[in-house]
């Protein structure tokens, strides 16, 4: 924190103020959503929009259990399960992608194949077309193999989405480690396994953190495949959120905003926790030596 303050001081108050204004403009839609989450149904719909209102937690309560328009007892919406699903699926798929991707990246970096660059390019091409193009074959494959609606299916799919990025990203981090450090370990009597786990992995911690954050965000917000391939029990928040629109309750802006606000929290926490690693990761190689 101390360092941050000094940097602000260095930029001067004019520039700081200027960037604050710009940031505010960018942040405004998010702020709008967060405010709406605390508004009552009438406040949410009023024009012009109200910026001063009596905040209510009603929307947040309604996320998890709500009564239908025509009255009656509150019904469990299972949103706790959907939040769990989102966290579990994103976490697991990024985890799988990291494990496979890191090992693959190390291989590409240290034990190049004949035509290494071509392989890497082919891996990247899988991300070059819009995913919707492959949705029909994937849908049919999932149906036939019984993966539809299962955790394992969507986790594997997301892991596959994240793999190309993970491999490319991690390869550049491994490329940064001087080979001599590995040779030193070799001379010190380490096996190749140990060199990977004890010498190389700890040095790319920042890269793993950065890759994880990008992967998590991508997976966290994914809607299309989740809509088609998750079932009632494995539904993620974006899908569930879309399904609260319409039906007999109409569009409840306050409720949607509340879901979105809650949905933001995990990403913000993870990014915040990893931010030091993230900064190091992004600037990796520019300051060393």
């Amino acid at each position: 924190m101390a360092r941050k303050r000094r940097e602000i001081g260095k930029a001067g108050w004019r520039r700081t103020a200027f960037s604050t204004v710009i940031s505010f403009i960018y942040f405004f839609p998010v702020l709008w959503i967060i405010l709406t989450a605390f508004k009552s149904h009438t406040d949410a719909l009023s024009t012009p929009p109200k910026f001063i209102f009596t905040p209510t937690l009603e929307n947040f309560a309604n996320v998890f259990a709500r009564a239908y328009e025509r009255g009656g007892a509150a019904v469990d919406t299972h949103f706790d399960l959907f939040f769990f699903n989102s966290i579990f699926i994103a976490g697991a798929s990024v985890g799988v992608a990291l494990i496979i991707g890191t090992i693959a990246a190390y291989g590409f970096s240290r034990w190049p194949l004949k035509g290494n660059e071509t392989y890497l390019f082919i891996i990247l091409t899988t991300r070059m077309l819009p995913p919707i193009i492959v949705i029909i074959p994937i849908f049919i494959m999932f149906r036939l193999s019984g993966l539809s609606g299962s955790y394992i299916g969507i986790i594997l799919l997301y892991a596959a989405f994240n793999l190309p990025f993970t491999i490319w990203m991690m390869k550049s981090f491994f490329d940064e480690i001087p080979r001599e450090v590995e040779d030193a370990a070799r001379m010190d009597g380490s096996s190749e396994m140990k060199i990977f786990f004890r010498i190389c992995l700890p040095q790319v911690k920042a890269g793993i953190a950065a890759t994880a954050v990008f992967g998590l965000i991508l997976t966290w917000n994914e809607f299309l495949f989740a809509l088609l391939l998750t079932g009632r029990d494995t539904r993620t928040v974006p899908v569930a959120m879309a399904q609260t629109i319409g039906g007999d309750i109409g569009v409840r802006w306050g409720l949607l905003a509340a879901i979105e606000t809650l949905f933001l929290i995990p990403v913000v926490i993870v990014t915040f926790l990893l931010q030091n690693q993230l900064l190091r990761g992004v600037t990796f190689g520019t300051i060393r030596r």
């Binding site: 001599e180 450090v181 040779d183 030193a184 370990a185 001379m187 010190d188």
Partner: protein
Amino acid sequence: MAQLRLSGLTKSYGSVHALRGIDLEVEDGEFFVLFGPSAAGKTTTLRVIAGLEKPDGGTLTVDGHDLSGVPVKRRDMAMVFQSFALYPHLTTFQNLAYPLREMKLRRAEIDSRVRETAELLRITHTLDRRPASLSGGEQQRLAIGRAIIRRPRLFLFDEPLTNLDAKLRHDMRAEFKRLHREIGTTTLYATPDQLEALSIGERVAVIQHGRITQVDTPDRLYARPVDRHVASLIGDPPINLVRGTLKPSSAGAPAIELPFMELDGDRWREGLQALESGTELLVGIRPHDLALVDDGAGGVPATIEITEPQGDITILDLKAAGVPLRMVVAEATGARYTAGDSVHISLAGADTRLFLSDSGTMVA
């Protein structure tokens, strides 16, 4: 303790021939220097010995045992890399302990050996710090420490001082000598710095373009280089190589015609006997063997082009009959001259060598 023998070692990377047949014998307990310009094959030689690279041909034995097929970790050698190659995520203590942990030593033993080594290299105060926070000299000593802590039978040092500043390099040279005296392990030390090679090596091998051109003690390397390339690599400022022609003098004794003087060849009579008159030669004149003489005392006239004061001495860049020459004079003498001055010089000293102009080999 180990005696190392390389014979006919070759190694290519694609079309680049890094080693073109290296033959070398390093005696048990010797401090042996591999000296050569960058890209001469020093690092490759060390890496092949260490087992980090497979040679394309040739043999490599330690104490008579063939090392081909012996994996790196069973070769019992330690290497200090030019980049130091410290483990950046580990503290000084952990860096030193790493090879010992791989040897599966007991904790207490590791602990005492780490402290002992840190003591020896004076880095005890850095034990809890990571390499990034150490000074260049401390990083260097840590790299050495990690190599010696295992007490291997052979040390390989790959330009360990290249990344340090001049003052530190000087101190570390003495350090290497001291360490070798204390530990006595056979050492192969690669360097592109002739000062380093001459001052710490017991014997020095000159390596050029993947071949060893000369193996000798430092003083003989300076006094009797096998060819013009070795001659120009050793000695600072570098040797003057002047074109000359062999011709019989009037008395029948050989003489060498230089652009600015005629050199009496009597001193090299034996070497010159086999050569025909008219043979083109390169005369190697050490800058220390040129002297200034009073005008009219029979010296060769020359003009000073540049003076380079070095503190205690001054290097004079001269031109005599259009031939550039470099000589060294005491600082007090050098201060009397500026560029453009005319002087007279004479050739003194016995270190002047003759090389064949075409092949570059030494004649006498």
